[in-house]
């Protein structure tokens, strides 16, 4: 390349790079830096506080992320199998809708639906399924968060898994059918094994996004422990101005996302 072209490229690349480096890369690194400072002294006290105060919250977050991911993938594998084998355009379209509904709206909708005096309990009480003086609460607990995350991510999962299933050649399925394979067997023995790689990428991505979910637990969390980690970070800053512990907790969340992030970065950059 000529020197002038090189300089032109540099000028072109500079503004977007500068923004992302300034407002993501540098703050990302300063998380690590600030997490090791306590009253301007190097110390591990922040991490000790994270261990003492938030170890159950970390487990709680992991539990919600794993549970939701398992549910989403479990449903998507069979739903997409049905859509791939028997094709149902209406159902396929319906499951695309949540893609376009932002997380905050999902949080609010689920809050209205699942609260103790929410719409779902009103419906159930009409048919006498619940005790009206002591309505059960699904929102304000881990199930409410999980349901919201599952609802929103299912759309993404259906899109990705169905894409992978569609790229499986029809002849494999025909061969299986000729030997008398049922729909279930076609999914389990052909579609699923042949789209394992795409499923892993989709799963990795959704796991990080669930781990890092903030607006959903903020909307339908209980406000009391146990909380999801992102809420802890936010409260630590907002109510206690404790940047040290908040950043230590942030670093813990990066490490949780790291294994998955590494995998994700590798597969993407191979493309």
């Amino acid at each position: 390349m000529r020197l002038s072209t090189r300089i032109a490229c540099l000028i072109i690349a500079l503004p977007p790079l500068a923004i992302v480096v300034w407002l993501f890369f540098v703050p990302f690194l300063s998380s690590a830096h600030l997490s090791l400072l306590r009253e301007d002294q190097w110390s591990l006290r922040n991490y000790y506080l994270v261990w003492r105060l938030y170890k159950f919250d970390v487990l709680y977050t992991l539990w919600i992320a794993f549970f939701s991911l398992a549910a989403v993938l479990g449903i998507a594998v069979f739903l997409c199998g049905y859509l791939r084998l028997y094709s149902n355009k209406a159902v396929e379209f319906l499951f695309k809708i949540p893609l376009f509904i932002p997380f905050v709206v999902v949080g609010h909708a689920m809050r209205v639906l699942l609260a103790p005096k929410g719409t779902l309990n009103a419906v159930l009480s009409q048919v006498g399924l619940i005790n009206m003086s002591d309505p059960p609460s699904i929102a304000f607990g881990w199930i409410g968060i999980a349901v919201s995350l599952i609802w929103k991510n299912l759309a993404l999962a259906v899109l990705l898994v169905l894409g992978a299933y569609r790229s499986v050649d029809e002849t494999f399925l025909e061969a299986a059918r000729n030997f008398g394979a049922s729909g279930f067997r076609q999914i389990k023995d052909i579609l699923l094994p042949m789209s394992k790689a795409s499923l892993a990428v989709a799963g990795a991505f959704m796991f990080t996004s669930m781990l890092a979910s903030f607006s959903v637990p903020l909307m339908i969390g209980s406000g009391e422990p146990p909380q999801m980690v992102m809420i802890d970070v936010y409260y630590r800053i907002n109510y206690q101005m404790d940047y040290g512990t908040a950043n230590a907790l942030g670093v813990v969340s990066y490490i949780l996302a790291m294994g998955v992030a590494g995998y994700y970065l590798r597969t993407i950059s191979q493309k």
Partner: protein, 264 residues
């Protein structure tokens, strides 16, 4: 084959799963009086719609819209040339540059944005319009760089070489050959960026509060303040652009773009 009735049952079930949670929003937005445990409100009307459309919400709506327009224009202007360069030229450190634009996707945003907020306050942009624009651009750039690089890669290089062989400059070949061919992809990417900015919550809450208010943050505040009608109306307003996109563009959009929308 699956019988027709069973297929219809499937459609109904999917409809309940998808519209169930959303329908409560619609009912709440029209409810003027609704005592528990009645299935439907005692009194319905447009009272809250009328109230909401003159108050704070209108400001949140217009501010959010303005921010989204500015973010989209700026992002496009600085991303199109970069995406072209990344797709075509053997520039140094290319993997590293692409890596920088992947990081914000791969790690939790909130703990990073907490520190970004400190940095923005240091240059006096915290709680300001331009601070919110900048924090939106971090996410928007990631979406835009990746989609548009893919778009330019899909335009055959031979067409440009033909133009260059016929005496066009590199800029001319970009402007009158690659750019028009890439337009559909650029439009998809533009809509993605616009919707991202319109729906962005975390960054706006941290950087903008309490001075810059967009619709998602407004909805969050009213929802946790138990102004359920107001919050539900805001939620419905937030859904409109996305649903419009889905209905109008679903057929033209490749699934990789659609999947990006799922991350908002």
């Amino acid at each position: 084959m699956i019988p027709r009735t069973l297929r219809m049952a499937g459609v109904v079930l999917a409809g309940v799963i998808i519209f169930g949670p959303l329908s409560s929003l619609v009912i709440w937005s029209f409810a003027e009086k609704w005592y528990w445990p009645h299935l439907f409100p005692q009194q319905v009307g447009f009272f809250y719609w009328a109230k909401v459309l003159q108050g704070d919400m209108l400001r949140a709506l217009t501010d959010g819209f303005l921010i989204a327009v500015v973010v989209t224009v700026l992002t496009l202007v600085i991303t199109i040339p970069l995406a072209y360069v990344l797709a075509r030229l053997p520039i140094p450190f290319k993997p590293l540059i692409l890596m920088v634009f992947l990081l914000p996707q791969a790690f939790p945003q909130l703990p990073v944005f907490v520190n970004s907020t400190t940095l923005l306050y240091r240059v006096n942009l915290g709680g300001k319009f331009w601070g919110v624009v900048l924090i939106h651009m971090v996410g928007a750039l990631v979406f835009a760089v990746w989609t548009m690089t893919a778009v330019f890669k899909s335009v055959p290089e031979t067409l440009e070489e033909a133009a260059i062989n016929l005496g066009a400059s590199r800029f001319k070949s970009f402007y009158s050959v690659s750019l028009p061919l890439a337009t559909p992809g650029i439009i998809a990417s533009t809509l993605l960026v616009f919707l991202y900015s319109l729906d962005e919550f975390t960054g706006t809450l941290l950087v903008g509060s309490p001075f810059v208010l967009t619709l998602p943050v407004y909805m969050y505040r009213t929802s946790v303040g138990y102004e359920l009608q107001v919050a539900s109306i805001s939620a419905l307003m937030l859904m409109v652009p996305g649903i419009l996109l889905l209905v109008l563009l679903e057929r033209y959009m490749k699934s990789e773009y659609l999947s990006m929308f799922g991350r908002i």
